[in-house]
């Protein structure tokens, strides 16, 4: 049993077990049976059979497909590009949203409310819309370039169809989640703690590093994991805004399956991405469990 019962300190495992294998427990099992069955049938089973299929070549166990992936310069370049995009975009989104959250924590008033609303706005915009909007805004001879030229800057090079294009869209799209999570973390830091540190002569950087950051470290880690996972699996944004090559894994998989009809290779790509996602996902779960344990 997961130790979630210890979370609030109200129920203890002993309380829960008191119901025993009675009717209530059966009812609970019946309730959870359907989603669990769905999970097994629609997620776990296809995943397992797919992983097995990637190791089966002409009826024999073989790692040749993986050997191809990890020796093919083109596939590796795509994987590397995906990881770099994920890391750089996720870290940038975190840094920016940390700044926004800090500002929101220590200011109030109409402007703060407006900035808060603005930072959450991307939550309601589908990625296909932001992609088209960025093409028109940042694209060649787009609005941004025209504005720059108005003030005499004529050396604009559009990020459209370069790695910077998807980077900008990813950061923009990823902002709301960390702003929410970090804001929530920062509200737990009492004004007294900050004032006490200041009274003891701590500068702003020291307060940030030793008082604020430790409080939101877990929020940051969780937000990072979620954003990173979202980006490495992205399709629309890199398809619309990114360069032809290297491709991000989502685009690469789609092309391998949809255009080349090479299901085997696409599955190998999917498994590689899945393993990386699982590592980051496991890290996320560990952080979650630790934070629940920490509050005990």
């Amino acid at each position: 049993m997961i130790r979630f019962a210890t979370k609030s300190g109200g129920n203890t495992p002993g309380h829960l077990q008191r119901t025993g294998p009675g009717r209530e427990a059966l009812a609970g099992l019946a309730l959870v049976a359907l989603p669990v069955a769905m999970l097994l049938m629609l997620t776990l089973w296809p995943t397992v059979s797919m992983v097995i299929a990637t190791f089966t070549v002409d009826g024999h166990m073989s790692t040749s497909r993986y050997a191809y992936f990890f020796t093919d310069a083109y596939s590796l370049a795509n994987l590397r590009f995906t990881m770099v995009q994920g890391l750089v975009s996720a870290l940038s989104a975190l840094a920016i949203s940390f700044g926004i959250a800090l500002y929101l924590r220590f200011s109030a008033g109409r402007i703060a409310t407006m900035i808060h609303a603005l930072s959450l706005f991307p939550l309601f915009v589908p990625s296909i819309i932001i992609s088209y909007a960025l093409v028109r805004f940042l694209g060649p001879n787009g609005l941004f370039q025209l504005l720059l030229e108005q003030v005499g800057f004529t050396h604009y090079r559009t990020p459209y169809l370069t790695p910077v294009g998807p980077f900008l869209a990813f950061v923009w799209e990823a902002l709301p989640l960390p702003v929410l999570v970090i804001s929530a973390g920062l509200t737990q830091v009492s004004d007294h703690a900050v004032e006490a540190a200041r009274d003891l002569g701590a500068g702003p950087i020291r307060i940030l590093w030793e008082v604020l950051l430790p409080q939101v470290r877990r929020s940051l880690l969780i937000a990072f994991a979620l954003i990173f996972l979202g980006i490495i699996g992205a399709y629309t944004v890199p398809y619309m805004l990114g360069p032809a090559a290297p491709e991000m894994m989502g685009v690469f998989m789609q092309r391998t399956l949809g255009n080349l009809h090479d299901a085997d290779a696409a599955q190998v790509q999917a498994v590689v991405l899945m393993v990386i996602s699982s590592v980051v996902g496991g890290f996320y779960i560990a952080t979650m469990l630790k934070s629940q344990g920490g509050e005990r």
């Binding site: 083109y74 360069p243 032809a244």
Partner: protein, 381 residues
């Protein structure tokens, strides 16, 4: 009450008949199935229908759009095949576009009506390059052309070599779409492959794909495109499809792209592309294109009417509308169209309409392009 209701109903019917005219009621309705895009179904409903009713007063047609429903026209064709075997009414007279071979056994079963000059007189006008088999009626086409901004390009290229020379002399002002994302980029890549292999499209057939030989033939094409790569827009960032490429031209980011004839002509008509954009076809060897083929089931509910519709579709009037209203290419020879129309489109009329086989060749071409041309690996990207 009953009689009163009956009276009301019959008087309403009479009023309706008086309003629409008896003639309309006498018209036989042909069932036409279309699974093409809205530009095609809209053209049939809004422009062709009144013209057909005027040309063939005994008939009219009803368009059913099968786009995105099950297998589209394929499902209807399977129903017609079942009806042929059961000697039942297939409830279909005309397929706007259909490949008979896609329903297995339908050709052998005699499902498709053979069209000759005997039953469709206007077939004598058809472009010889488009003729395939008597069960396929070529009635419209499209082809990839070079679209350029005449305000920036004084002498548009007439040959592939001209085009490459222009692109190199004007770095960043030419681009083409990724070959797997749209036919305009794809057919440009094919044109480069043709260029590298003696300008001979017949060297590529559905059955002659052989990996080692194909690799050798394609590599020659990649050499041309790799050479062009640093001179394209953004030094080798290729737009992701037909529309993104047109967008770059419309925004003035590039001055020349390959584009589908119908998409470019329609964009010009709608003002999406500036008026200064002109179209030209390469005259040494044209870029690829293809025709849309109509088909008529031999057991059509009204076979005679369906053949009359086929004949109407190949009339110079309808074919003129195909060029003017949807930016399509005519199924009949340009010589059979009004002289002024031919003069207007003289730059885009191809000497030939090359094709490139589907299947293995397409796959090898698309994947090879990504691995050999688009990649910036050697440049440290």
């Amino acid at each position: 009450m009953l009689s009163r209701r009956h009276f009301l109903a019959s008087s309403a019917a009479l009023t309706l008949a008086a309003a629409t005219g008896v003639k309309a009621q006498d018209r036989k309705v042909l069932q036409v199935f279309i699974d093409g895009d809205t530009n095609i179904s809209g053209w049939w409903n809004d422009i062709l229908k009144p013209a057909f009713e005027a040309a063939v007063p005994t008939h009219t047609f009803n368009v059913t759009i099968t786009r995105g429903v099950a297998d589209g026209n394929g499902t209807i064709a399977e129903r017609a095949l079942a009806a042929l075997q059961a000697k039942a009414d297939p409830q279909v007279d005309y397929f706007e576009e259909f490949e008979p071979a896609s329903v297995a056994g339908s050709i052998e079963a005699g499902l498709w009506e053979e069209m000759t000059e005997a039953n469709v007189p206007n077939l004598k006008l058809v472009n010889p390059a488009a003729v395939e088999a008597p069960i396929r009626l070529p009635y419209r086409g499209s082809q990839v052309l070079i679209a350029y901004d005449s305000a920036k390009v004084a002498n548009p290229p007439k040959t592939f070599a001209d085009l490459v020379a222009w692109a190199k002399a004007n770095p960043g002002r030419f681009t083409y779409g990724r070959p797997d994302k749209g036919g305009s980029g794809s057919n440009f890549v094919i044109r480069a492959i043709h260029e590298a292999n003696g300008k001979d499209p017949s060297a590529f057939t559905k059955d002659n794909f052989e990996p080692a030989k194909a690799e050798e033939m394609l590599q020659k094409g990649w050499a041309i495109l790799k050479d062009l790569h640093p001179f394209t827009f953004g030094e080798g960032t290729y737009p992701a499809g037909n529309t993104p490429a047109l967008q770059l031209l419309a925004q003035g980011a590039v001055d020349m792209i390959p584009a589908w004839s119908d998409q470019a002509l329609q964009a010009l008509k709608q003002g999406v592309l500036p008026e200064t954009v002109k179209l030209v076809q390469l005259q040494d060897l044209a870029l690829c294109g293809g025709f849309a083929y109509s088909a008529i089931p031999s057991n059509a509910t009204d076979l005679e009417g369906a053949l009359a519709l086929a004949n109407f579709m190949l009339s110079p009037e309808t074919q003129t509308s195909c060029v003017k209203d949807i930016g399509g290419f005519p199924g009949i020879s340009w010589d059979n169209l009004p002289a002024e129309l031919k003069a207007e489109y003289i730059d885009v009329i191809p000497v030939s309409i090359p094709t490139f086989p589907s299947g293995d060749w397409q796959k090898a071409k698309n994947d090879g392009w990504y691995k050999n041309v688009a990649t910036n690996l050697t440049q440290g990207g």
